[in-house]
Symmetry: C2
DNA sequence: TTGTAAGCGTTATCAA
DNA sequence: TTGATAACGCTTACAA
């Protein structure tokens, strides 16, 4: 069942069928109706491969995430897919993991599918920021299609980034803790990504501005798994701290479990702040104060700008920074 | 940059280039090397639209989920994508929500993209089982491409289902509770789907076999949100029960929060069992006994059978039932 | 082993 | 307002 069949049945040329299918106004109402009837009766659907070949697009957006099982990323994809769908784009989803070679390979694979644009979800794609070669593959990809980063910053032609202001969010949280008299704030992170660095910078800035020392022993690199963090903290018997800032709720829950085992009162003896405001934060007890990084807003703005770029508009913001929200619950006293 | 350019540069015909690209063995080693060099130097990638047009496939699998932000479904997609990727298939992801009309529309949209197969994730696509018309759109889709259901059962030509044995899992859990003397087991669910019905059936069977009454007041339909469940249970002040079985961890956490507020000892006064063994189950306190429905195994078996069907093999199992695992933690005493 | 040429099913240009 | 026809870039008989 192709356009020739429809043309034959409707007694018109394939050009006319194509016009009807594509909603051209250069078709008489009578002809249009006739063709539409035939199309409907025959259950005809245009072959998207042929359309793609002619138009050089299948209206497909590549979405790359390190791990779709991660709550935060799944939520991003949810918002992205929803909005892309309403604008007639499909999502080609790929999961790269965190390994640089796999990231590059997955980007290449997506590009080879002739996607219209590429969205990279998660600050892991922004590299550590120290070595710009780490992100060369993104710039190379951007020479073929516009590239959009969610929660990561990379500079380059045809690259657009949307991030939430993690630095300020952590700065504000740390300042609140310090104002309440906290002097030794533990910083827990599972990453060296751009976003992790921003959070760290906010943490250090708050300490410095408050005249507190920035101590290496209070910056712990760990895995984003509650039990792992709990056990790790249980082992550091000599380490003293009166507050915890974690770069993901999973680690904050680990700190909470540790405090419980040690018989510490949260938030009296220990204040804990998580990140991402995930379902974990309302699942534990006491419920977790957490930084909401505005996933929906970030995704929304990303797609908006993507559509503008694809329409050929000029002067689209290459960097968009969205403020975070602190969601206060029961693991803090401020 | 197309196959003609490469052919010209390599001094061969496009047929030879095509043969090299597709790994045909009917090419002399010398020619192959020459062509590969040119392809590499030029950075040539075949146009997938043209390939798709000729072969009538782009090696794309449509994956439909009601909501990718749901932990369970995100995990499924993670396993599916991973395995499909290793076999050279791409994933076209779409999120339909739970509305029947949207489901049908999304299936149609995916089919119009000429996917090689369709995977439906979640028992919501299996309908309630009462009305087979509810699933007619699946049978219709199956007339175009093989359709695979994850965690839902629908019968029909070219439809393949992989489910875990929810009925038996809940039956076993209920029997364990009853053996320990529990007499009033609350059953919490947020769905009327196939899988929810199976769980309910296992629950009722255990009661009946044990000579306990099946009471309507002990079957509560609610939302899968911890706070919602907690508040709901707080309102049912007259309802008495000594155990809870929830069809998702989120609801079980709600029951746990309720027990905490009421000052009940879990598991002494109230035993609680969740479902899906999600990250929520190890996040709360005490940690939740939960039924693991073997997501990885289910997804793995689904892709295996999908590949077999696409290879044209016959006699593939249309229904595959995988036993669940009970993960015992601290909200039960058995 | 290699090349020629005919599809694949559209869109778009140009005449009519 | 319509129709004939040339792309689009590949795969694959069939010939050589």
């Amino acid at each position: 069942m192709n356009i020739y069949d429809i043309a034959g049945m409707a007694g018109v040329s394939i050009a006319t069928v194509s016009r009807v299918v594509n909603g051209s106004d250069k078709v008489s109402e009578k002809t249009r109706q006739k063709v539409l009837d035939v199309i409907h009766d025959a259950g005809y659907t245009p072959n998207v491969f042929a359309q793609g070949l002619g138009l050089n697009t299948m209206h497909t957006i590549g979405i790359l995430v390190p791990n779709i099982a991660d709550v935060y990323m799944a939520e991003c994809v949810n918002f992205l897919e929803d909005q892309l769908h309403t604008y007639g784009y499909d999502c080609l989803l790929s999961c790269s993991g965190f390994d640089i070679e796999q990231k590059e390979a997955h980007v290449q694979l997506l590009l080879s599918k002739r996607i219209d644009a590429l969205i990279l979800v998660g600050s892991t794609y922004a590299g550590s920021g120290e070595n710009s070669h780490e992100t060369d593959y993104i710039r190379e990809a951007a020479s073929q299609v516009p590239v959009f980063l969610i929660n990561g910053a990379v500079s380059g032609e045809n690259i657009y980034c949307t991030v939430c202001d993690d630095r300020k969010a952590v700065y504000d949280v740390a300042m609140s803790l310090i104002r309440r008299g906290r002097k030794r704030i533990l910083f827990l992170t599972d990453s060296h990504s751009y976003s992790a660095q921003q959070k760290m910078a906010g943490y250090e800035q708050a300490l410095t501005e408050s005249g507190l020392p920035v101590l290496g022993e209070l910056r712990l690199h760990t895995k984003n798994r509650a039990h792992y963090v709990r056990d790790m903290l249980l082992q550091y018997t000599n380490l003293k701290y009166d507050a915890v800032i974690a770069t993901d709720d999973g680690m904050a829950v680990g700190a909470l479990k540790f405090a419980k085992i040690r018989g510490m009162n949260v938030p009296l003896d220990l204040e804990i702040v998580g990140y991402n405001n995930s379902s974990l934060s309302i699942c534990c007890d006491p419920e977790l104060t957490s930084v909401d990084n505005r996933t929906e807003q970030v995704c929304h703005d990303t797609v908006d700008r993507m559509l503008a770029v694809l329409r050929g508009e000029r002067g689209i913001d290459a960097q968009l920074i969205i403020p975070c929200h602190l969601i206060k619950r029961s693991t803090t006293d401020f």
